[in-house]
């Protein structure tokens, strides 16, 4: 048994069964043979020098069985652990300390969402087959394990794997949906509206940036007749002043993608690039694989636990994704009849709520029961007398989240994997709901395209941005933006398409989609792409590594004018020199990015926290809006600190925040020197997924940063870099900061990290046929069909 978090010592240390058995000695060339009754025909798995499995099956059932099997072989613990995290079942493994986290996952209805999805997925014969066969494959691997073969994390936390289920595939999909499309700022915006009024809201939180550079280029005509967006007749809205913790879209969850047409490349064929930015962990969120059957030959990455390939290419097309970032969460103020929460008021009548009883098992303790109340809008995550969770969640409000609605994204990827041209790609996207993505596309026929794609409720602006009246049926989501009206463009005049989570469109688009990330990355990519010509794939590798800090180059000249040079100390003068001579490149060995990073955060806080700070109930204006304010309205009242009698000016804030920055850095890092260099200061951490000390790669010295094309933050960044050249013989390169094996005792656990840090890409081995003797193939597994 386990005491606290300490693994049982004897069981763990025993070299015949314990952790020593997880040491994986260098793989030898060999052929394994395994028998499975459920297979219809033999399957051959070729494993290459990067430990990527290339699966060759005679039919799709066997193909997805084998995908499940090999994924579990390499990543079993991660697959299962992540589903426990989503479903709110961590306490079964960890104990008391994760109960509140689990309760939150139950309250926001993650399993409810996964079950809704499962129903839809299982109704469709195609998606049912891939999910079912994959599940059987995972379980075939689990059944083959004896305790000594369990991944090391099971030995450390002292538990055993349970059978895989189709629901777990859905939970992983919902985890991604929550991460990319689960946040919202409606509560903070409503508070901001109540305190400052609509004019300030419109001024400080504009829906479109200055000098917009949207995904779909400005002035692109919309080739559809927009649906009318309703407006409610009753104009009563809730005022609210509910305490809230910050839960805004995580700016680290961005991504870049682009594709250029053959007119701008040396080969005369399109080239496509994609790098999704996500939290960086070991084992990595991505797993590379090639799937081959009579119906498909596709290569790319997927999430362990999700059948098919999510980002990749086949012999005709390539596609990539960046998060759309659309707002698909709304909140409704609910009037309950009494404190039993059995009935709520809607459409002039009292309607019954429904309840789901959640049972949270806690390791070493009694299990806990929790009741989640649902209205037709969705669940009530927080009751009146409770401490707020880590979320922007009002009390006794219902959550309307698109992630709860039935959908079948697996079908999209099934079809994308097999798509041969633009028509196939659009047809595949029409099945897709959430989280919305910018799907970039290129094919060997020469087409490039991008669709800002997802299911979007047709909402009036007020409805999407602020808290709604849960009793008024006019405030409900009513209709949907038709798929053909999703912003998209094919073969634009400029010869390329791109996206980097910025606004999908300019302000002439007829529907409300959300607030989007600042467009620094998108602008930089578009500037570079416009200038580039005679492109070869390596140019795109360099563009993915571009460290130009557009935000800094926009704002620093304005700030420097205000700095009172005569009143700087020696240290401050040194720092000022670094900043004023900076070329705005966030390279690892530069000092200026470190100073700028702290300075802009301090300045941002100095400008806004007197009005918007306090208990975190209000949303802060964005960095882009702040830059605009500094440049265009240096005398705006916002620069005054309302808590002092004196009237502060922008100049004072610039100087004091700069001095504070130097003081803070000197205190933290000593005199200006090596420790101040950006790469050292930032120190990128790729932590183990279960936060086990020693199992991650910590303090990595790399450049880049948030808002920069090479978006490497402290714990997030390009989680997969891919470039595909759509020549008649498709060529591709890729790397992710991890390794194919999830076993910390394998040399394939983190073997890609060095190349990722250096900005190198590996050539991906895309086999056209079952080439058992290819020089990069190191071992072969043959899965025999039962006799």
């Amino acid at each position: 048994m386990r005491i606290g978090l300490v693994p049982p010592v004897g069981k763990f240390l025993d070299p015949f069964h314990g952790f020593w058995q997880n040491v994986e000695l260098k793989r030898l060339e060999k052929v394994y043979q395994l028998d499975f009754d459920v297979l219809q025909a033999p399957v051959t798995v070729l494993i290459d020098d990067r430990l990527v499995s290339h699966i060759f099956a005679e039919n799709d059932h066997d193909l997805y069985f084998a995908q499940g099997y090999v994924t579990a072989k390499d990543r079993l613990w991660q697959m299962e652990f992540q589903t426990h995290v989503v479903a709110g079942r961590l306490s079964e493994i960890i104990g008391q300390r994760t109960v509140e986290y689990d309760r939150f996952q139950r309250r926001i209805g993650m399993t409810y969402a996964a079950k809704n999805m499962l129903e839809t997925v299982m109704r469709n014969p195609l998606s049912r087959e891939i999910v079912s066969a994959y599940t059987v494959g995972v379980n075939a691997y689990i059944d083959s394990l004896s305790p000594k073969g369990y991944p090391i994390e099971y030995k450390i936390f002292d538990y055993t794997p349970e059978p895989w289920t189709p629901l777990k595939c859905m939970l992983l999909a919902k985890s991604m949906t929550w991460m990319l499309a689960g946040s919202g700022t409606d509560l903070k915006m409503t508070n901001t509206l109540a305190k400052f009024g609509i004019d300030t809201v419109e001024d400080l939180f504009p829906r479109y940036p200055q000098n917009p550079d949207p995904v779909i280029p400005k002035n692109t005509p919309w080739n559809f007749d927009p649906l009318p967006v309703g407006k409610p007749q009753k104009e009563a809205y809730p005022d609210t002043m509910n305490q809230a913790l910050p839960f805004e879209p995580n700016p680290a969850n961005g991504s870049n993608n682009w594709a250029v047409s053959g007119t701008k490349t040396v080969s005369g064929y399109p080239i496509l690039a994609n790098d999704p930015h996500l939290d960086l962990n070991l084992p990595s969120i991505w797993y590379e694989i090639q799937l081959f059957s009579p119906s498909v030959n596709v290569y790319g990455v997927t999430i362990p636990g999700a059948p098919s390939v999510l980002i990749g290419f086949n012999q005709k097309i390539a596609w990539g994704m960046t998060s759309g970032g659309d707002d698909v969460t709304d909140w409704y103020q609910i009037k309950f009849r009494d404190d039993t929460l059995n009935e709520y008021f809607h459409d002039d009548t009292w309607k019954p709520t429904t309840r789901i009883i959640e049972e949270i098992k806690v390791r070493g303790e009694k299990k806990i029961q929790d009741t989640v109340v649902y209205t037709h809008h969705g669940p009530i995550p927080l009751y009146s007398d409770e401490e707020t969770f880590d979320g922007n969640i009002p009390r006794l409000h219902a959550m309307r989240w698109l992630g709860h609605d039935p959908s079948n994204e697996f079908l999209t990827f099934y079809r994308l994997n097999r798509a041969q041209d633009y028509q196939d790609y659009v047809a595949a996207l029409s099945h897709y709901s959430c989280p919305a993505q910018n799907f970039v596309f290129a094919d060997t026929a020469g087409d490039v395209a991008i669709w800002h794609n997802g299911k979007f409720p047709l909402r009036f602006q007020r409805q999407a941005r602020f808290i709604n009246d849960g009793a008024n049926p006019e405030h409900d989501w009513q209709k949907w933006v038709p798929h053909q009206h999703n912003p998209h463009i094919k073969n634009p005049d400029r010869g390329f398409v791109s996206s980097a989570n910025q606004n999908p469109t300019n302000s002439d688009y007829p529907y409300y989609l959300g607030w989007f990330f600042p467009q620094y990355r998108g602008k930089r990519i578009n500037q570079q792409m416009l200038e580039m010509d005679s492109i070869i794939p390596d140019d795109f590798r360099l563009l993915q590594l571009d460290n130009q800090n557009l935000q800094a180059s926009l704002i620093i000249p304005s700030l420097l004018r205000f700095v009172d040079i005569d009143r700087l100390t020696l240290e401050e003068t040194q720092a000022f020199k670094k900043i004023s001579t900076w070329d705005y490149v966030n390279d690892a060995n530069q000092i200026a990015p470190t100073v700028f990073d702290i300075w802009q955060k301090r300045l941002h806080a100095a400008i806004w926290s007197d009005e918007f700070g306090g208990n975190g109930s209000y949303r802060f204006p964005s960095s882009a809006r702040t830059i605009q304010l500094i440049m265009d309205e240096p005398n705006a009242p916002w620069f005054d600190n309302i808590h002092t009698e004196n009237k502060e000016s922008l100049q004072q804030l610039v100087n004091s925040s700069f001095k504070d920055t130097v003081t803070e850095l000197t205190k933290q890092l000593g005199e200006m020197g090596n420790q101040w260099r950006w790469g050292k200061f930032k120190g990128v951490d790729i932590a183990h997924l279960g936060r086990l000390p020693g199992f991650g790669k910590m303090g990595l010295n790399v450049g880049g940063g948030l808002g920069i094309v090479n978006a490497i933050g402290k714990t997030s960044g390009p989680s997969w870099r891919m470039i595909v050249s759509l020549e008649p013989e498709v060529k591709a390169w890729g790397v992710y900061p991890g390794g194919q094996s999830g076993n910390p005792g394998s040399s394939y656990y983190d073997n890609f990290v060095d190349a990722w840090m250096e900005g190198e890409l590996d050539e991906l081995l895309f086999l056209k046929s079952m080439d058992t003797t290819h020089y990069r193939i190191q071992s072969v597994i043959i899965l025999e069909a039962g006799k």
């Binding site: 004897g10 240390l13 070299p15 069964h17 020593w20 997880n22 040491v23 000695l25 020693g694 910390p744």
Partner: protein
């Protein structure tokens, strides 16, 4: 076979070939400790300590060699104590036989 099967072997040897308390403990300790050290050491050196280093950091050991020593000493203690237990049971049983005489 569960991890503690090695303790049964040591116990049986202690029971079967009793010498004296300390010597039995010593031979159980050396027997199992050495066995664990050799197997763990082989895996450690063949893998350049890849996993030993990580697990060492996990439990905050200052060096990965200590992980090997910890494994050997723990195995030794298990072996030694099991052997002594076997030895004492033998004493107990033979003592009873002696008293019956």
């Amino acid at each position: 076979m569960p991890w503690w099967s090695v303790a049964i072997v040591a116990f049986l040897i202690g029971f079967w070939k009793p010498i004296n308390g300390w010597k039995t403990f010593g031979s159980g300790f050396v027997g199992v400790g050495l066995l664990w050290l050799i197997v763990a050491g082989y895996l450690h050196y063949r893998s350049n300590g890849m996993l030993t280093i990580k697990v060492g950091q996990l439990i905050h050991l200052p060096s990965s060699t200590l992980m090997l020593i910890l494994t050997a000493v723990f195995g030794g203690l298990v072996g030694g104590m099991a052997a002594v237990t076997g030895f004492h049971l033998r004493l107990l049983l033979s003592g009873e036989q002696n008293s019956k005489k």
